[in-house]
Amino acid sequence: MPEFYKFPNCDCKFKILGPPPLPKSDIPSIDLDWDNVPLDCPITYDLLCTGKTKMVFQLEKGGGRQGCRELKPAEIEHMAGLGAVLRPGAANSYDEDGVSTTKHYYLRKNGLEEIKSYHPALDSILGETYNCLIYQEQAMKIAEKIAGFNKKEADNLRKAIGKKLPEEMAKVKKWFIDGAKKVGVVTEAQAEEIFGWIKESQKYSFNKSHALCYGITGYQCGYAKAHFPVQAYTSWLRYGQDKGKPLEEYAELVDDAKIFGIEVYPPDIRDLELNFYTNGEIINYGLSNIKGVGEKTGAKVLELIKGVEKETKPIKQWSWYDFLVLVGSDIGKTVMERLILTGGLRGMDVMRVQMLKEYEAFAELKPGEIKWIKQRKDNWNNIIDALEAVAHTKKNGGGAHTESRVEKIKSRLSLLKNPIIPYRDNPTEIANDEQQYLGTSITCSLADGKPGERWTVYCRDCVNETLPKVIILKVKVEEVRENIIKKGKEENIGKTMAYLRVSDSTCSLSDISCFPESWDEYKSLLTVGRVLEIHLEKSFKGNRLHVKNVWAI
């Protein structure tokens, strides 16, 4: 085996550790030395430029994603700059033309706006940020160069800027002007103007050392996502339980993984771990990631199952009947029901609905009755036959103590043999249950449960640069954000529009615009949880989609 692994599309090289490649994976175990990760990987920057920056530090949310798409970072300095200009101060700092500092930075970096030099003395300081003053350190260097400040005085200026202290700023201004006169690089009027910029920048400028740290960390996250996506998603999912809302985090990560073609599966009892795990190709939920289970309970359950496996046979050979009788009474109702509802027992080839009903009947047995069945377990191969046998009093050869117990068991039996509602796993119920206990529906989506006649494509077909010609989706409405228009066309100012997030089984689509006219017409239909057919069109600006028509299903 070669000592180093080289990625084909970017030549990034890594040292390979001892174990051989995982089955079905062509990526061997790789030792990632974060201190020596190259900061110029084109694959990583390509990924960042798409704006698909879930898992990228500081760039996960809407502003960060949009910022990446607009700026198109190509080097680490851009990542640092992005971190600085994304802050609300920069985004809300407008010049006399109504253009924000953030926008200037994006436009100038991409050659869409002229970079005007105010004074050659400033070019070397502001040149790295396209003549936008975005770092506190730049203000310090200007003070040194223009006003002859020493480092301590320049730092006082930075502190005054950082703390936004008006009295300090007034004092420092006087020193600045006096110093500028002495140094003589700029005129007094120019010094006044430059100090004005510095003062204005106090509202939004950021500490460059911080920005660079954030930028490098963000880049490293993007690097991991670009080169080791399966491992990166697994890692982020595992630590999702530390977030304030773990299920929401799981939902976002699973959705993002779908866009990159990475499958995340519900827990599977045949191969169960405590937390998210991967075989290098797909990712599985762990037992503790199911809502309401937790690490302590999950660990006990896994230990129990492993113990029973040793005494009997490997769990991969267990049938549903085996599982029910061997561990059903020891696992606990919450864990059992949620394992069933999230598809954790799907490998046993019994419908979820049937498992729930049979578990309900089994769980209602008295401990003595369960013990009686367990002792004779191999006499039957399904729970109905076992219940038939136990449903006699002891003197009649059964496992029940009294006639009333016999009656109760027989009542349950009659409902198992002739279910009131025929056993059928309904896509709508599966989607709802998985959403409730895993954070997101995985096996199918709510949209799958509805017929629909007009839809033409899936959400996944709409995430790339090239969009389908006709976009009609059959989707569930996940989120609706109303917004009052404050700028743009005058006739729209003050009107309400909305942004939607919708999903189907392939992934979700965010930031779909619903302009005022469409919003007025369709807002009664566009409610969270509703499954609809939505006709989308590409906006004239960029790759954004907006609502054209909506139909109820």
Binding site: S411, R412, S414, I420, I421, P422, N426, G529
Partner: protein, 224 residues
Amino acid sequence: MINNNFIFVFDFETSGFDPELDEPVQIAGLAIDPHTLTIVPESQFNSLMKPVNIFTGTKQEIQAKWQKSWKAWDVNKKTMGELSKAPLPEHVWKAFSDHVKKYNVGGYAGKPIPAGQNIQGFDLLWADALSRRYKMADKSGRQQLFNTRTILDTLNVTFLWFENSDALEDYKMDTLRKYFGITEDGAHDALKDCEDTARLLIRYLKLHRYYSPKVKFRNAFSNA
């Protein structure tokens, strides 16, 4: 505010009128989609229940208790044979509850709207009693399956349409069947009653939807 809650029509057949003293013998129900006003496919629920108290005791005691409820059997046509083999009410009520919960669209306010003929005066009282009996009631002893803010009792809806007309001699289901041309075959079987009530309710709701936009409600009481 557009209603997104399912409407769940349900009906009990019982051995008498008193939920505390008498027993349920059948429960049926089905869901109506609030957007399309159609019966949701595969939403039907129908099960007999064994009247446990009647079937406790010696043969003679059982016979006597059965005879006491002769009026009920005369109406709902249930037989001793079929009810003696029926599942226990606690199991059927649990199954019914699980079924109804599937039609909750989200949270407390998302519970399905209960509907039926005289459900306020009868069926909801039975739902409360069974919920209490099987420890599924809320703190005030009421059922927790259905929406409590909105109840669609077809008795009330019929009254609103016919209160100033002598077209109907009363508002009983049998009278409404005759009037609206619904067959009486199988009447007083809970599922048949649910289906007929659902069809009636759907007809009423469609009528409301047709007329509602034509009425000027806004500022109807203002002086302007």
